[in-house]
């Protein structure tokens, strides 16, 4: 059975180094026990935020990391997923599970149609094209009366936990996003060793060479772009029920697109665990800086610190934390006089 092969592949992490496998296991274990160990409410919301952004970062990795196509419009797919759930729920009282496929299907369809055009562009031009597309979508959602424009959608409030409408307890939401996160992680893990994954890496290294090897460059890119949109739309659907309120500003804005790409950059683009580490660094930093400095003292202090970190990282270690670790390992091997020839690149690039 082919499907079993895919599932087995998705659970195979044998090409990662031992340290990486231990790290992943520890992370998954920590996510599983988190709500039972940490009782601090704010830390829990930060954990949910972390999983949400890590998931979006993973979605970016399909096209941006492994494909090398810098997507600056990821937020539109989050928006489609969120509106797909929220709009039918508000208009016709549809449960979460009916709205979810609508949002995801729309995201895939849109990515397919526009991707066929956009993905002919290269480098900066693709990045700027995605930016423009996302901006148009945001403006259209603000304009449309049907989506209630900039006023946004307030989801019906259920007093008791409700699994049809996915209104859960804080612990319930934690496991909900954790499940989505693990699903995305497994998908990306399958993807990076699939034929498609290798094709995209070839395209990232040299598009013309890839084409001359007989790879259908456009088709490969479009496939990855669509997969990426599915994962992002799932994230958006979660966001809608978690906050109970969405508007174009919160699920379709440029800042979100940038943030998605940034999680991958900080952790290491094109590394399986890159976006996870990126989100683990950025989200707690962002939220705690906001919580500590946002309310008083110097205005915008949190953003200032954040900005300095981004600039330092971009200037000194553009490969992100993954690059940092690579440098560390290299340094240790050299210091102990061992050969560096057998060193594997981190994250099963």
């Amino acid at each position: 059975m082919k499907i079993w092969g895919i599932i087995r592949e998705a659970f195979t992490f044998s090409d990662l180094s031992r340290g990486e496998r231990i790290g992943l296991a520890l992370l998954l274990g920590a996510i599983a026990v988190f709500p039972w160990v940490v009782k601090d409410g704010f830390a829990r919301t930060v954990a949910v935020q972390f999983l949400y952004y890590a998931m979006l970062g993973l979605s970016w990795n399909f096209i941006g990391g492994y494909g090398g196509q810098i997507d600056l419009g990821g937020a539109k797919n989050v928006g489609f997923g969120a509106y797909g759930v929220a709009l039918p729920m508000v208009l016709w009282d549809w449960p979460f599970w009916l709205g979810l496929p609508i949002g995801v299907a729309f995201a895939v369809l849109e990515s397919l149609v526009l991707g066929l055009g956009l993905l002919r562009l290269r480098g900066h031009y693709f990045a700027i094209g995605t930016l423009a597309v996302a901006l148009v979508w945001e403006e259209l959602f603000v304009y449309s009366e049907w989506t209630r424009g900039a006023r946004g959608l307030l989801l019906p409030f259920k007093r008791a936990p409700d699994y049809l409408y996915m209104q859960l307890t804080p612990v319930g939401f934690h496991y909900f996003i954790a499940a989505l996160f693990v699903f995305s992680l497994l998908w990306l893990n399958w993807f990076r060793r699939s034929k498609l994954g290798y094709q995209l890496r070839a395209i990232r290294e040299d598009e013309d060479a890839a084409a001359s090897l007989g790879i259908n460059v456009l088709a490969a890119k479009v496939k990855a772009y669509c997969i990426s949109s599915v994962v992002a739309a799932l994230g958006g659907a979660f966001y809608a029920v978690y906050y109970g309120f969405i508007d174009p500003d919160s699920v379709m804005h440029l800042d979100l697109s940038i943030m998605i790409a940034m999680t991958a950059l900080v952790g290491g683009a094109g590394v399986l665990w890159g976006p996870i580490v990126g989100a683990a660094v950025l989200i707690p930093l962002d939220r705690y800086l906001g919580a500590w400095f946002g309310g008083g003292g110097i205005l915008g202090m949190d953003f200032l610190i954040y900005a300095v970190i981004i600039m330092l990282l971009a200037a000194y270690q553009p490969k992100g934390v993954a690059g940092l670790i690579e440098a560390l390992v290299l340094w240790r091997l050299k210091a102990t006089g061992r050969s560096t020839a057998g060193l594997r690149a981190v994250g099963g690039r």
């Binding site: 930016l131 901006l135 304009y143 790409a261 981004i310 990282l313 971009a314 553009p318």
Partner: protein
Amino acid sequence: MDVVLDIGISGVLMGLVYALLALGLTVIFGIMDTVNFAHGEFLMLGMYAGYLTYAYLYPEPLAGVPVAGLVGMLLGVLAYTLLVKRLLSGPPIAQIFGTFGLMLFLRYGALAVFGPNLRSATQGLVVAKRLVVGGLTLDAAKVVAAAGSAFLFGLVYLMLRRTKLGLALQATAANREAARYMGIDTDRMNLIGWALGGATAGMAGALLVNFYYVSPTVGMVFSMITFTTVALGGFGSVPGALIAGILVGLIEVFTAQVISPQLKLAVIYTVFFLVVLFRPRGLLGAR
């Protein structure tokens, strides 16, 4: 007919202002293939330089233009030597995020230093003055800004075409490696490009003070439209930026008039998207 002429002219005036904002960005991009996300913040600091000159030194916003030009130039030089130079050795994504970080830094730095208030110039030669030409009423401040834009475009264009430095800059833009073999110090060219880009952004900011408010977040208002203008005109093309600026100004006013004021940005972005798609190098793309 009157309405068409009336808003057509205001579209062209505003378009020239957009073109001026785009000038610095396109010069930088042309020379070194880097998108400066912090450009709107350069503009914002130029506006503060202009406004503070007006408020504390001499109560005439136009007097702030040279000051803002110097401040902008200094900013460009600092940004290049302290940050951008390092980014160049990294992948393209590092450049995008490096200047994005710079944008956040300048915006929130300004918020910390100047506070959140909106400030406006209330007196001056052209502040809130009407200019009546052949039955049409124009905003004198915008006419001055548009004229300043045309003048600076001419200056930069001539500089690029007629001076040795300009030719060296163009050579760097055309082919960095070849330029280096011919003995051009490309690093210095980058620096000059950033100084030039910063200076035009600064002066544009000071010209805006005549009719626009100044606030730490004002860069946000202009940065997307500036970006669009540059892409539309062709990254790195100076005449392209001029034409695209006017085009954006016209699209903006006519969309607001004919379709809906709410959709004016959506239409501009759609045009931008279509141009990027069908002519990725813009209307007058250099390469």
